[in-house]
Structure formats: structure tokens, C-alpha cells
């Protein structure tokens, strides 16, 4: 400290994906402010898609340039292999989800209008939809990019909020069943804020223990600080609560079914696929990088959480009657399966194996999820989407192709071989077994078997039941929606038959683990 302040270095190239996304989001806000209403959508859609593509390209370029060996932006953002892989997944999934969002039927014409009021009627008649959806989505995606890449807890907290806040809003924008949508929004918001308070308090305690919020510094402090263990333990636990909430691990899963059900399906698709990816990235970074030295302490707790999550997800899904709620519980169960990979920490080789497995699983699961929700958007009746399972009876006869694709997604969720879900599950379980978590894997397969029941039940309904007389119609899909379904199906098939390229990619991404 001799008076001169070193200017901070910012590696713009490394951060460019985020910068592009955030930049486009800001432009989007400006568009909302200045562009005439009839033009907005035609500006937003290309802008959003281009931004995501651009971010994806820069992500690829960054990866091709070789991985940096230290964190960017003064150690605040770690652009390393796992980050880049996660970015890649998030950007692709977000791109697909935006194609799905690009369907006016999904969103409310004017969010501020009271349902059933003349305002609303007018807004509906005007034929416009709330176009803020696009910049909001971009902000959320930006937050998702930053969340798993953040190398200190403050950035992570900010990223968490940047990711979550737009999503709270987006949840409330469904065109049909406004009450449900608004309820989802308020529940998600209150609980999300509640859980981030836990995260923050945990952060404070860890800061109190380590004197720093940088992950590396926290990791280093584990071996040097003494006598403050209680702070550390409570802090770890509360950080964990915040992150596990985002994943939807039991017993923090309560929001998931309600929010998934109430939110516009396109947003559910975005959330279900990308938030899980981002949250697992962050969870891994906190628990492996910062708290890796504490594994003996958090592992047993994580065991309990993983077991509970798998079982709760699988068992509760059985009796669901709404397709989106069912998929929400399925997502809970999948979160549990992924947690078995998080637990499988050990030697370096073991860690790379587990990390790569998780990355692959996230990619596989994300695509299938987006596809499944895309199909859900297409099955409609008079009141909007036909969410109740009984309405799905006989879908295989009315629309065999769509039903077949959906069945295929369900089989992928169930982890049947020759689908992507199988290899994802296999990879994670293999990592867990070699990490010594065999009992966890056994619980995993048992809950998979239970889970298979409700996936299969939907197939039974679609194919083996006679169609209801006034069954739902299948909306003629927009180009975007069909593209989403096709892409997701293709990804599920390809990852199920030739997973090797993606596995290689995941391996490469995981090869050096996280940088510190």
C-alpha cells in the first residue's frame, strides 16, 4: 500500500458471454421504453436469440482458446472448464426455451390488468402480449451464467438474485389461469427471498469465520483458523440451505410443484432446465472449492438430504394428477440423483469423474425437460393447457407422434437405456459407487423404480386408455415449439445412443476441476 491503487483488471473476453447477455437485456429494456408496441416483439425475439447465440459462440471460442488458470475479474469470476460447460448448456437450453416463450398464447397481455376486468379484455383485444418477458429472461439467464461461475460469495449472492428476481416476475405472467400464476409468483418470491436470507446469513457467518468471502480464501482458512468451528458449521449449513432451496432438494422442495404448476409453461421449462444447472454449478463450487476440506462434515448431512430428496420426489410424484406438478416432483427426484454425484467427492480422479458425470447429467436432463414442457404447452383445451392428467387419456390415438415423443421423454426421465437419461443416471451412479456411496446408489435405484411407476402411468394413460370424448385438442404448434420438441427429442436420442462426444466434452471441462 504505497498510495497507488492498482486498476482492477477485467478480462472482457472471458466474461463476454455474460456481457453479451446482460447488454442485450439492457437493450431490451430500452426497446420496451422507446420502441412502439407493435414493433417490440419483432425486435425482442431476434435480439434475444442473437444474444444467446452470440454468448454461446463466445463461450465456445473461450473454450477453444484454452482454459485460463486463474479466476477472472480480480478473482471474482471463475471462467473455468465447468463454468464454460455449464454456460454452454444454459445458453443452449435458454435458446430453446426462448423459442418456446415466443408463443403469444403463453403470456398475459397486460400483467397489471386485473383478471376479468375491462382492462384485460381490452389488452387481449389489442393482440399484444407482455414483451418484457424477453429482457427479463435475458437478465435471468445472465444471472444463471454468473451464479455457477462466481468465485466469491458476494458475487454468488448477487448472481443468485439477478437470476431469481426476473424469474419471480416471469412466473406471474401466465395468460390463462391468472390466479394460479400470480399465486405461484408470490409464493416463489416470498420463499426465494426467505431462502436467500438464509444464504446471506450463512455467508456472513462464513465470512466471520474466514475473514474473507473468496472461495479460495475460505478453503485456505479451513486449515488455519481454529476455535471458530461453530461459526463455520452453521455458516456452511445455511449456505447449503440457500443453494439446496434453488435445487429443490427435500425438505426445501415445497415451492417447486406450486411454482412449476402455476408459472407459464414456457417459463417452467426455462426454470426447470436452466436453474437446476446453474444451481448445481454453484453448489459444487461452494461445497467442493470453498468447503472441500470440510467434506467429512457435510457429506453425512448431504447423504441424508439426497436420500430424502430422491424418496420424497419419487413417492410424492406417484399420486399427482397434474402433469406439471408431476414433472416438478420428478425434477425433485432428479435433483436427488444429482446430489449423489455431489457427494462422491474423493481423490482428484474421483472428483473429475463425478464432476463430469454431473455435467453430463445436467445436459441430458435439461434437454429432456425442455422438450417435455414444450409438449405440455401443446396439449390444450378450452381453458388453456390441459394440465390434469385425466385429460391426457388416449392422447396416443389423437396425436400419436406427439404422444410418442412425450413417452420417449418420460422414458428418458425414467432412465431406460438408449435414452440420454440412462447414461446420465449411469454416469452419476457410477461416480457415486466408485466414491464409496453404494448405499446411496441403491436408494437411488429403488426410488428410480418407484419413479418409473408414474412415468409409466402417463404412458398408460396416453396409449392404453380410451380417449375422453371431449379431450383436449392438440394445438397446431408454432414453428418455434415444433423446433423445440424436435431439438429436445434429437438431443435425447443422440445422447442416448452416442453420448461419447458430450461425455468427452464434459470430461475435458472437468479435467482440471474448478480453478481456485
Amino acid at each position: 500500500m504505497n498510495g497507488t491503487i492498482q486498476a482492477p483488471t477485467i478480462e472482457y473476453a472471458l466474461l463476454s458471454p455474460m456481457l453479451i447477455v446482460f447488454g442485450a437485456a439492457i437493450i431490451g429494456v430500452l426497446v420496451e421504453a422507446f420502441a412502439p408496441r407493435y414493433l417490440r416483439k419483432s425486435i425482442h425475439v431476434p435480439l434475444t436469440l442473437l444474444a444467446l447465440v452470440g454468448a454461446f459462440i463466445t463461450t465456445i471460442l473461450t473454450a477453444l482458446n484454452g482454459l485460463p488458470d486463474k479466476a477472472a475479474a480480480m478473482g471474482a469470476v471463475a471462467v473455468d472448464g465447468p463454468s464454460l460447460f455449464i454456460w454452454g448448456i444454459i445458453l443452449v437450453l435458454a435458446f430453446i426455451s426462448v423459442l418456446l416463450i415466443n408463443d403469444d398464447e403463453q403470456f398475459v397481455a397486460q400483467a397489471s390488468a386485473v383478471p376479468g376486468s375491462t382492462d384485460e379484455e381490452e389488452a387481449v383485444r389489442s393482440g399484444f402480449a407482455q414483451t418484457e418477458v424477453y429482457p427479463l429472461a435475458l437478465f435471468a439467464v445472465g444471472g444463471m451464467l454468473l451464479f455457477p461461475a462466481s468465485n466469491d460469495l458476494l458475487v454468488m449472492f448477487v448472481a443468485l438474485e439477478v437470476m431469481s428476481l426476473p424469474l419471480y416476475l416471469l412466473c406471474g405472467l401466465a395468460r390463462r389461469r391468472r390466479l394460479l400464476s400470480q399465486e405461484a409468483s408470490v409464493k416463489y418470491f416470498l420463499l426465494g427471498a426467505f431462502s436467500s436470507a438464509f444464504f446471506l446469513y450463512g455467508m456472513a457467518l462464513v465470512y466471520g469465520y474466514a475473514g474473507s468471502i473468496e472461495l479460495k480464501a475460505i478453503a485456505d482458512s479451513l486449515s488455519t483458523v481454529t476455535g471458530q468451528d461453530t461459526l463455520l458449521y452453521i455458516g456452511t449449513a445455511m449456505l447449503g440451505v440457500g443453494l439446496l432451496f434453488k435445487i429443490g432438494a427435500a425438505p426445501f422442495q415445497a415451492w417447486k410443484p406450486d411454482v412449476y404448476q402455476g408459472a407459464p409453461t414456457a417459463i417452467t421449462a426455462l426454470m426447470a432446465s436452466t436453474v437446476l444447472v446453474a444451481a448445481f454449478g454453484a453448489l459444487l463450487r461452494v461445497f467442493w472449492v470453498a468447503l472441500g476440506g470440510l467434506e467429512w462434515n457435510w457429506q453425512p448431512v448431504m447423504w441424508g438430504v439426497a436420500i430424502l430428496t430422491m424418496i420424497v420426489g419419487a413417492v410424492l410424484a406417484i399420486t399427482q394428477t397434474d402433469i406439471k406438478r408431476m414433472l416438478a416432483y420428478s425434477s425433485v427426484a432428479h435433483g436427488g440423483f444429482l446430489l449423489t454425484g455431489v457427494i462422491a467427492i474423493g481423490t482428484f480422479a474421483q472428483n473429475t469423474q463425478a464432476l463430469s458425470a454431473i455435467l453430463f447429467y445436467l445436459a441430458a436432463y435439461g434437454f429432456t425437460t425442455v422438450g417435455a414442457f414444450a409438449v405440455v404447452t401443446m396439449v390444450r383445451d378450452a381453458g388453456g393447457e390441459a394440465g390434469h392428467l385425466s385429460r391426457w387419456a388416449g392422447l396416443g390415438k389423437r396425436s400419436p407422434v406427439l404422444a410418442a415423443i412425450f413417452a420417449f421423454f418420460l422414458l428418458a426421465f425414467a432412465g431406460i437405456p438408449l435414452t440420454s437419461g440412462f447414461f446420465g443416471k449411469y454416469a452419476v451412479f457410477a461416480a457415486a459407487v466408485s466414491g464409496g456411496a453404494l448405499p446411496l446408489v441403491i436408494v437411488g435405484v429403488v426410488s428410480s423404480a418407484i419413479a418409473a411407476f408414474f412415468y409409466v402411468r402417463v404412458i398408460v394413460l396416453m396409449f392404453f386408455s380410451e380417449p375422453a370424448a371431449d379431450g383436449p385438442t392438440i394445438a397446431t404448434p408454432t414453428l418455434g415449439t415444433s423446433a423445440v420438441v424436435a431439438l429436445a427429442a434429437a438431443a435425447t436420442v443422440v445422447l442416448g445412443i452416442f453420448p461419447q462426444p458430450v461425455l468427452d466434452l464434459a470430461d475435458q471441462a472437468a479435467s482440471a476441476l474448478f480453478i481456485r
Binding site: 400419436p400 440412462f422 449411469y426 435405484v445 411407476f453 453420448p499
Partner: protein
């Protein structure tokens, strides 16, 4: 020539072709043609098989599939796999021909019309998977086929089956999946513990040495196979599935799919975990023997033809498992031959029962009576198939049952004796069913029955011919099986059987 890959590719392409055809009739014809091509190709391949060759797996192809997991596309056949592939290849065209109207919505029970193309496409996909599962020389690939083949069968039962079809289909799938998932754990653990970086079966033989590890892994594999086979007490899905499935699907289910379980025991449980297999032998033998007697007794008490046949199969699977775990040359060869023979004889029973049910629309035994008078050919062929089911000498099942029992008796006399009582029970369930359905005064509802038509005759004739031919001259098949079984047993390290007299002489010298 990559024979095995071609054998799998042809039906898959055929399935695509079938689903693209314009008319149902064309779809059926194409499906039949494709399956016949597969049969012909299998025949050519089998002719080139050399049972006495030193290479164990012939027509082998090994390519890396997922190097990351050490998974290969590894296929190849030894004698055991070859005969089972041949069984599948023979049964599929017959089943296709037999199922000609299964999806049409015709038949006395007036089932709803369903997609014909899908049905036949599923059949062909299933054929490819059946060939694949037996040909796989990579444990992981085997597992993939093992699980994936559930899906077409699930749809065949669930979409085209009887009144309780969805319950049966779900039950079938969940049982199998549950077993399969336990096996998945064992597969993973095998890979991790063997630490060979490969799933190729030949390289994994004899790798796991620790007895305790072997036991756990064995259980993982065994339970999956026991559910699949099915052994008592994991069997309750089979009667439902087989009774609800359309007759053709039931044939493939019981005739081929379930054989994967017993095949898996022979190939994987025994060779990969020989010590554990020996440790658990008493348990398995008890399960098998209980299954033989129990299955037969429950079969006697059935009132539904297809359920009855399904229970007889449970009894028969007990015999097969008994033969496998007797770990004698005769027991193993007999069990393998039994798998083939059971496929034909139970296949014939199911198909003819299917013809019967198609005419009457009911599978209740009480709804029939005196069929012999109006449809003698139907009754006669049913009797022959049934007699093969009760292992009448001169029909194929006898040879295998005899070998299994003899092979078991060589080592475990008491279980073999109890199992032999199965021959009495078999006579009761088959003949009593025949008596109740085919003999006696002709029931009113049966009066209008027509005898087997030309198509149905073409279905039945090859089966009966094979049953009789293998009954008198099983040598060609046994010559293929025997070296493979000997090889298997040599990997298990069991002593060969010697007669007591020779034993004494040997000891005396």
C-alpha cells in the same frame, strides 16, 4: 461378414419400413418378409458356426462405443447364444403370421382396432433387441438390451392386450425395471471393482476374486434374472402379462424374453461370480424346486387358459434354473436346450390357445368343451403342444427335461427327485385343461368353430415339426450347445461328474 450386426440391422430397418407403409396389409407382408430374411440369414450364419472352434465367441465384432465408460459394441456368439438367437429368428416369423389379425380388431371378443403398423414394427424392433441381447459380449451392452427390450413388449401388451392390459403391462415393466435397476448397481460395481476399464465379458471373467464382493454382485445380477426368468417368488407378473398380452406377444415374452433371465444366470452369474454362484447354489436350487412344484400346482388350479400356460412356464423355468445351477455338463446343456424347446412348445401352446380364444373371445376354460369334435386339427395340435409341455418323450421338451433332471441328480439327488415329481403334476395340468376344453360334449358356444385355416396351419406346422424333430434328434442342437456349456463350466471350476462306479475305480488305482 458382420453377421450379427446385419441380423440386428435388418429388422430395425424393416420396422422403419413397416411404419412407413401405406396399407395395413402391406405392413404385415413386409414384416413377414423381413422376419423371413432374418431367419434365412440366421440359418446361413448358423451353418458357418463351428462348435469345436477354439475361439469361443464367433462372428465377433468389437467396436468402442462409449470409451469413457469402457463400453463396447461387442457382439459374438457361442453355442448357447447361437441357439437362442436361432430360436428368436424362428419364432418371430411364426408369431407375425399368427398375429395377422391381432391388431385388426376382429375376433370374437371384438377388441378395438389398433394400429397394425405399429404392432408389427414393434415386433421387428423387439426381434432386433432379442438378437442383440443374446449376442452381446459386453456386459453393458447386454444390460442396455436387457432393459430396452422391455419397452416394445410393454407397448405390445399395453396397447394390444386384453381387458386388464394396462395393469399387466405396468406390472411387467415395473417388475423388470426393478430387477434391472438392481442389476445396474451390480453392473456399475462390477466395473468399478474389476477396475479393468472395460465391460467386455471375456476380460471380466475371473477378475472378481473376493468372495464377499462376488456374493453381492451375484445377488444384483441374480435378482434381475430371477425376476425376468421368472423364478419363484418373483413370478407373479408373468401370469398377468402373459394372460393379457396378445398371443403372439405372449409367445415372445415367455418364449424368448424370459430366457434372457436364465441365459443371464448361465452366462453372467456363473462365469463372473463362480464362487458366489456355488455359495448360493443351495438357495437357487430350493427356489427352483419350489418353483417347479408350486408353479405346477397353481397351474392346476387355474381357470384361464393363458394364465394356466403362464404358470406352467413358471414351473418350466424352475427346471431351467435347476439345470443351470446344478453346474454339471448335462444340467447346463439340458437347461440351454430347455430354453430352446420351451420356446417352441410353449410358443405353440400359446399360439393355438390364441387361435382358440380368437374364435370364442374368452380365455376361460369353462367357456369351452368338446372342441375336438368341431375342430379336430386345432385340438390335435393343441394336444401335441401340450404333450410337449408335459415332456412326453419323442417331443422336444423331454430331452431337455431329462438332461436337466439327470444333470441335477448327478450332484443333488433329493432336489432332483422332488423336481421329477413335476412330471406328474405336468400331466395333470395339461391333460385336465385338454379334457375340460377339447373333450366331452360340444358346448353350444363352440358349435360354430371352424378348424384351423391355411394361415394358422402354416403357423402351427413348423412348430410341431420342430418339436417332433428335436424330440427324436436333438443331436445337432446339443452338438452346438455342449462345447459352450463345457467352456462355461470350466470357467466356473467345477468337477466333472463321474459315475460312482468309475469313481471307486479311480480311487482304487
Amino acid at each position: 461378414m458382420p453377421w450379427l450386426s446385419i441380423l440386428m440391422a435388418v429388422p430395425v430397418l424393416g420396422a422403419v419400413g413397416v411404419s412407413l407403409t401405406k396399407s395395413d396389409k402391406l405392413a404385415k407382408q413386409l414384416a413377414l418378409a423381413v422376419s423371413l430374411v432374418v431367419l434365412a440369414l440366421t440359418g446361413v450364419m448358423a451353418a458357418q458356426f463351428n462348435p469345436s472352434s477354439a475361439t469361443r465367441f464367433q462372428f465377433a465384432e468389437v467396436y468402442d462405443w462409449i470409451p469413457r465408460f469402457g463400453v463396447h459394441y461387442g457382439v459374438g456368439v457361442d453355442g448357447i447364444a447361437l441357439v437362442l438367437i436361432a430360436l428368436s429368428a424362428v419364432l418371430v416369423p411364426i408369431v407375425i403370421l399368427a398375429s395377422w389379425h391381432d391388431a385388426d380388431g376382429t375376433g370374437a371378443a371384438a377388441p378395438p382396432k389398433r394400429s397394425v403398423k405399429t404392432y408389427f414394427a414393434l415386433l421387428l424392433v423387439l426381434e432386433a433387441m432379442m438378437i442383440g441381447v443374446f449376442a452381446a459380449t459386453d456386459v453393458f451392452l447386454f444390460y442396455v438390451f436387457f432393459e430396452a427390450m422391455l419397452i416394445p413388449m410393454y407397448f405390445m401388451i399395453g396397447s394390444y392386450g386384453g381387458a386388464q392390459r394396462s395393469y399387466a403391462a405396468v406390472k411387467f415393466l415395473l417388475y423388470s425395471l426393478f430387477g434391472g435397476l438392481l442389476m445396474l448397481v451390480a453392473v456399475i460395481a462390477l466395473y468399478v471393482i474389476a477396475d479393468k476399464g472395460t465391460f467386455m465379458f471375456p476380460e471380466l471373467v475371473g477378475v472378481i476374486q473376493d468372495p464377499n464382493t462376488q456374493k453381492w454382485l451375484f445377488l444384483g445380477f441374480f435378482i434381475a434374472f430371477a425376476v425376468k426368468a421368472p423364478l419363484w417368488p418373483f413370478h407373479t407378473w408373468l401370469p398377468d402379462a402373459a394372460a393379457q398380452a396378445p398371443a403372439g406377444a405372449a409367445v415372445l415374452l415367455v418364449g424368448v424374453l424370459d430366457k434372457v433371465g436364465t441365459y443371464g444366470m448361465l452366462r453372467f452369474c456363473l462365469e463372473l461370480f463362480p464362487d458366489a454362484a456355488k455359495f448360493f447354489t443351495p438357495l437357487v436350487i430350493v427356489l427352483s424346486v419350489v418353483g417347479i412344484v408350486y408353479g405346477a400346482i397353481v397351474a392346476i388350479g387355474q381357470t384361464d387358459i393363458k394364465r394356466l400356460i403362464a404358470y406352467t412356464s413358471i414351473s418350466h423355468f424352475g427346471f431351467i434354473a435347476l439345470g443351470v445351477f446344478a453346474m454339471t455338463a448335462h444340467g447346463g446343456a439340458g437347461a440351454t436346450l430347455y430354453m430352446v424347446n420351451h420356446g417352441f412348445s410353449t410358443g405353440a401352446l400359446f399360439l393355438i390357445a390364441g387361435f382358440l380364444i380368437y374364435r370364442r373371445g374368452s380365455s376361460q376354460i369353462a367357456d369351452y368343451g368338446g372342441v375336438q369334435k368341431v375342430a379336430p386339427l386345432l385340438a390335435g395340435t393343441f394336444l401335441i403342444a401340450g404333450l410337449s409341455g408335459l415332456s412326453l418323450p419323442g417331443l422336444s421338451s423331454f430331452v431337455s427335461e431329462f438332461m436337466v433332471l439327470l444333470g441335477t441328480y448327478e450332484r443333488y439327488a433329493v432336489p432332483a427327485i422332488i423336481a421329477t415329481s413335476g412330471v406328474i403334476l405336468a400331466a395333470i395340468y395339461i391333460l385336465w385343461m385338454y379334457q375340460r376344453t377339447m373333450t366331452g360334449p360340444t358346448a353350444e358356444s363352440v358349435k360354430g368353430f371352424t378348424d384351423l385355416n391355411i394361415r394358422e396351419r402354416w403357423v402351427v406346422a413348423p412348430l410341431i415339426a420342430v418339436i417332433i424333430a428335436l424330440g427324436f434328434f436333438p443331436k445337432p442342437v446339443l452338438d452346438v450347445i455342449n462345447p459352450a456349456v463345457d467352456q462355461t463350466l470350466s470357467n466356473v471350476h467345477v468337477d466333472q461328474f463321474t459315475p460312482a462306479v468309475a469313481d471307486k475305480k479311480g480311487a482304487g488305482q
